[in-house]
């Protein structure tokens, strides 16, 4: 590698580090993203100018990939963002896997270290790629979002992992000349098993656990790039890949904490599929309310908190929520939107939707900010959220949700729950909130319900 190229890669690494740091703060996030993009441009140009490259196929790939990426990024709806992120994770993982494969094909004599790097790249990249495809299928509704569990699942996964390790060892042994033949076959096995593991790892994970899976796959795609850096002996891949791996890991940890669960429990638990009836007996009665009657309560409210969940995304209700918030503000009420970290299907899902609807981000608050003030909230409006407001998480040690930090809407003076029906949430756990004295259920499509409330304000 020429000296200038090394300097270019160092510059790119610095820009990635700076950009990623800035991406973590609201004031600097936009600039951070651009700085990191400049780093990427420098790395790509430095690679292209290295000399000795036939540009024909490179340009073809750049043009097709660039067009697909640009069109997808422009067209995607904010409600479709989880699928988009899954797809991006998958393409990154696939690219790293293919880089590992291409290097295996083109090197005649590999050192043990390189061979190990190649099989690791294939394993992690392949897992990220096929896992992301399944996650995409679940998030976009093409596959059933429920956890898919079958007997012997763990045994099969463990066996596959053992096969992968054995085959990987054979690839390394063949590359270093320890065994004479069978290298190509073992390599094919590593490749196929990596893809199979990705599929099997994501299938048993249900909809509400998707935020964890998406951030974990994000982490994998980074680690795969770092592994590819070992394969082609390139620092910038190692640095950039590790940074992404670390940031994905941090997000994953945040998500796990927000659900009070360990990573192992999410990955192997098949949450929601195995839970039987809750331990506490439900008491009380459902008190339905019409949107028109809800208006009279809202009209008198000084403090209103919206609590959105996945149901708001499904109903595409974010714009009417903002409209109602504007009406409430005009009426003199203080409006906040309380967002649980795992509400929706990916980290930050609700924030993105509300931002799309022009909700200023000062109105977005986290559970820790809103819970201490809950007694002073006149109306909490729960829109398509369920488990993240279930009081069983605080009160019922027998509940599978017990210990999960929630938004404590049951302590608000009045709580409206907008819901299609009385069906329990994703976890399959009944929600005692619906039967509390201060809860009013407003059944029907969330968007229609809120539109009716807005209309009542305009008339009123």
């Amino acid at each position: 590698m020429e000296a200038w190229q090394t300097f270019a890669y160092i510059a790119a690494s610095i820009l990635f580090i700076t950009g990623l740091k800035m991406l973590g703060r609201a004031e600097t996030a936009k600039r951070g993203n651009r700085i990191s993009a400049v780093g990427m441009l420098i790395a790509v140009v430095a690679t292209l100018l290295a000399g000795g490259l036939d540009y024909t196929w490179i340009v073809l790939g750049l043009v097709i990939g660039g067009a697909v990426g640009a069109v997808a990024a422009r067209r995607v709806q904010m409600t479709g963002m989880p699928e988009m992120v899954a797809l991006l994770n998958g393409s990154g993982g696939l690219a790293s896997m293919l880089v590992g494969w291409a290097e295996y094909v083109r090197s005649d004599d590999l050192l043990a270290f390189s061979a190990v790097a190649i099989v690791l790249t294939i394993l992690i990249g392949g897992l990220a790629a096929s896992g992301s495809v399944i996650a995409f299928g679940k998030l976009s509704g093409r596959l059933d979002g429920k956890p898919l569990l079958f007997s012997g699942q763990k045994v099969i996964n463990a066996a596959l992992l053992a096969v992968a390790v054995l085959a990987a060892a054979l690839v390394v042994a063949h590359a270093t000349g320890a065994i004479a033949s069978g290298g190509a076959l073992a390599f094919a096995v590593v490749l196929l098993v990596a893809l199979a593991l990705g599929v099997l790892a994501v299938l048993p994970i249900g909809g509400a656990d998707m935020p964890i899976v998406v951030s974990l796959l994000n982490s994998y795609s980074g680690v795969a790039a770092a592994a590819a850096g070992f394969v082609i002996d390139n620092n910038v891949l190692v640095v950039a890949g590790s940074l992404v791996g670390a940031s994905g890991l941090i997000l994953t940890t945040i998500m796990c904490k927000a659900m009070n669960r360990s990573l192992a429990n999410v990955l192997f638990g098949g949450f929601g599929a195995t839970i039987s009836a809750g331990s506490a007996q439900m008491e009380g009665e459902v008190k339905p309310l019409s949107p028109e009657d809800a208006y009279f309560i809202l009209e008198a409210a000084d403090s209103v908190v919206f609590v959105p969940g996945y149901g708001m995304a499904v109903a595409q209700a974010q714009h009417v929520v903002h409209e109602l918030a504007l009406q409430l503000t005009k009426n003199g009420a203080e409006v906040r939107h309380a967002i649980h970290p795992v509400a929706g299907r990916m980290p930050g899902h609700m924030n993105v939707l509300l931002a799309e609807a022009n909700v200023p981000y000062e109105q977005l608050v986290e559970p820790d900010d809103v819970n201490p003030t809950m007694e002073t909230v006149d109306v909490a409006i729960v829109i398509g959220a369920n488990d993240v407001v279930n009081p069983a998480a605080k009160e019922d040690p027998g509940s599978p949700l017990f210990g999960m930090p929630i938004i404590e809407v049951d302590r608000a003076r009045t709580c409206f729950v907008l819901k299609r029906s009385m069906n329990p949430g994703f976890s399959g756990v009944d929600n005692a909130l619906f039967l509390k004295d201060n809860t009013r259920m407003i059944f029907g499509d969330a968007k229609a319900t809120i539109t009716a409330m807005v209309a009542a304000f305009k008339e009123g």
């Binding site: 393409s91 880089v99 002996d233 891949l237 670390a246 940031s247």
Partner: protein, 92 residues
């Protein structure tokens, strides 16, 4: 192959963990898509494979360049779009 890369790897992981603490939840999605675009750095390896490989390596490399470019361009643009939507009250 250069074992010194392991040193770089470990340091970069630690740097990453130190760099991104306490991310406000509104930035979770942009952080994910933005960092994901960075993982498209594998495009460097893909370009080399597509440009100087044999037939099979060129085919694999070309697909890799395509996938990595989707990752890079799609990731940066979608992050830019999302961050453009985050507005403060005064400019909403």
């Amino acid at each position: 192959m250069n074992p010194l890369l392991l040193f770089v790897f470990v340091l970069a992981i630690f740097l990453g963990l130190e760099l991104i603490t306490k991310v406000p939840s509104q930035l979770h999605t942009p952080l994910m898509s933005g960092s994901n675009a960075i993982s498209g750095i594998t495009i460097v390896g893909a370009i080399v494979a597509a440009g100087e490989g044999g037939v099979l390596a060129t085919v694999l490399g070309t697909i890799a360049v395509t996938a990595a470019t989707i990752n890079v361009i799609g990731g940066y643009l979608v992050t830019e779009r999302m961050l453009g939507m985050f507005k403060r009250g005064k400019d909403a």
